[in-house]
């Protein structure tokens, strides 16, 4: 890794330039979300006191303020309410145009506005079924006991159910 113009940063990792979240337990208390995602499970936290299911996952319940959280599985398949295809201005890190997004009804849990991958331009239609698709993203070179350890990471988009 080189950083042209800033020689002192050659070989350095910058969290402020990372488009994906930190996923290790040292830097994120909801790291279980990503551990579960690696197993193909789409999960979130449910409040063990009032039963509220929040997304994104929480450390504290925003309804009753309990910190008694438990992990639950959410559906990993939903229905396309509407979609968009971005043909100009796709941000760095999201491949070639078009960048497809869909507003997905996750079986009544939430309406998620998400990226749809493995989907050709013009392929997606309102009413289509889509499912969670997990993919690897760049690992974080994290300092561990004086050395650098690569922490593997994943993230999710949705893909058409074919």
């Amino acid at each position: 890794m080189t950083t042209p113009g800033i020689s002192v940063l050659d070989g350095k990792y910058m969290v402020t330039m990372d488009l994906f979240p930190q996923q290790s337990k040292e830097f994120n208390q909801v790291y279980a979300f990503y551990e579960n995602l690696k197993q193909g499970r789409f999960t979130t936290t449910k409040c063990a006191d009032c039963g509220a299911e929040s997304f994104p996952p929480r450390v504290m319940c925003p309804e009753c303020f309990s910190t008694n959280m438990q992990w639950i599985d959410w559906p990993n398949e939903g229905t396309v309410i509407e979609f968009t295809e971005e043909v100009v201005g796709v941000p760095l890190g999201f491949g070639k145009a078009p960048l497809v997004h869909a507003l997905v009804d996750l079986q009544g849990k939430k309406t998620m506005f998400v990226r749809v991958i493995n989907c050709a331009e013009g392929q997606l239609k309102v009413g289509d079924k889509v499912r969670v698709a997990v993919f690897d993203v760049d690992p974080v070179p994290q300092e561990v006991k004086g050395g650098i350890q690569e922490i593997p990471r994943v993230f999710y988009a949705f893909e058409p159910v074919t």
Binding site: T16, E82, E86, P91, L92
Partner: protein
């Protein structure tokens, strides 16, 4: 102590793709603001609030307010701090200055806002926008740049209410025409309906002229207590009457509705209640036209027309000069550009001029004016009401 608060001066740098740094633009804006009212001695300014959203990212600078104070020749003693709420940073800073002056914690406060967004490599600002939505959850879906979000809003508004591409175009043509009369605006040329309809697509149904640009620039205003204002200006007094700022969700998954902006309705009602006015009393408005569809929904949710009738309302020219509520008479975001922290200040300047009676495109009899911003993933709304009379 509960004092009336006036806005007594305002000015901005040239906005656009600019040569220069953030601090250069703040100096240009301060100079323009000082020249707008020569009765104010900048040494009398006791407070400074600076609105900037990307200062850390594109200028690598925190602790910005003392830096700006040093460069613009102000020595604050009541407040000297930066305020950030992305696109609503400037309006947020005005609200805070209003509160401080009203409560007697400050007397004369300068509020500045601005950004240097273009960097030596253009990709950087677009990449930085991943920090403006929920970075951990919406950003990694490629939702940092707003066009897909507002395309989704437009598609649903069209489906739900029959809003048309031509109606979106009415906003773009109007605001670009107004900008052409504003020498500080990024765009100095209007566009025709044909140019609008034939522009290259960005995210359907939005094309190039539906989207505001990336902009460098800064702006500044001076607020003070009414008693001071009477000494410091011979122009008609313009009062800040009431404000509201609301947020009901941040991440996209928690948006209650994509076509009715709940937080805007709340912020608007709060501002109207405090200002003791109704929507029909607003004679001129600067609403957040980051995208054409935004201005249409804002007409509805601010109560200027019925829900779902925003399309016909703008299509018939009801928010143009001569209509019910002339909107973005200085060119708006679509015409002036949008240096995030500067936008709310720019809106305040235009409303101040309209209420003083010295605007370039003067709305006759303007006695109540409104400014509005949305910010983030349509995650907060900010509304300010100004008037020729105090509440």
């Amino acid at each position: 102590m509960d004092r009336n608060v006036c806005i007594i001066a305002g000015g901005m740098s040239k906005w656009g793709v600019r040569n220069g740094s953030q601090r250069d633009f703040f100096q240009e804006a301060a100079k323009a603001c000082y020249e707008d009212n020569l009765q104010v001695n900048p040494k009398e300014i006791d407070g400074l609030l600076v609105a900037s959203a990307y200062t850390e990212r594109t200028s690598y600078q925190t602790h910005l307010a003392p830096l700006v104070a040093e460069h613009i020749g102000v020595k604050p003693k009541s407040i000297c701090a930066r305020v950030e709420l992305l696109c609503a940073s400037g309006s947020s800073a005005i609200i805070l200055a209003f509160g401080l002056i009203k409560a007697g914690q400050a007397d004369v406060v300068m509020v500045m806002g601005g950004e240097k967004l273009y960097t030596p490599q253009k990709w950087e600002v677009f990449y930085s926008e991943l920090a403006s939505v929920d970075h951990d959850w919406d950003g990694p879906q490629g939702l940092g740049l707003p066009p897909p979000v507002f395309a989704m809003v437009a598609k649903q508004h069209m489906k739900q209410y029959g809003t048309t591409k031509e109606q979106l175009g009415a906003i773009s043509v109007k605001n670009r025409r107004n900008a052409a009369l504003n020498p500080k605006a990024q765009f100095q040329q209007g566009i025709t309906k044909d140019e609008y309809m034939n522009a290259r697509p960005i995210v359907q149904p939005l094309s190039l002229f539906d989207c505001c640009p990336i902009t460098d620039g800064a702006a500044g205003v001076i607020l003070c207590a009414e008693e001071k204002a009477k000494q410091l200006t011979d122009k008609p007094l313009v009062y800040l009457r009431g404000t509201g700022q609301a947020s009901v969700n941040n991440m996209s998954a928690n948006m209650p509705s994509w076509t009715t902006w709940e937080a805007l309705k709340i912020a608007g009602q709060e501002a109207y209640r405090k200002a003791k006015i109704e929507p029909k009393d607003v004679k001129v408005a600067m609403t957040h036209d980051c995208f054409t569809i935004s201005e249409i929904i804002e007409m509805e949710d601010l109560g200027f027309c019925k829900k779902g009738e925003g399309g016909p309302f703008v299509g018939e020219g009801q928010n143009d000069l001569g209509g019910k509520v002339p909107t973005n008479t200085d060119g708006g975001l679509l015409g002036c550009g949008h240096p995030f922290g500067g936008t709310g200040i720019r809106q305040a300047i235009e409303v101040m001029k309209q209420l003083r009676g010295d605007a370039t495109q003067q709305v006759k009899g303007a006695d109540i004016g409104l400014t509005h911003n949305l910010s983030g993933f349509i995650a907060a709304h900010t509304v300010l009401v100004y008037g020729r009379e105090p509440v």
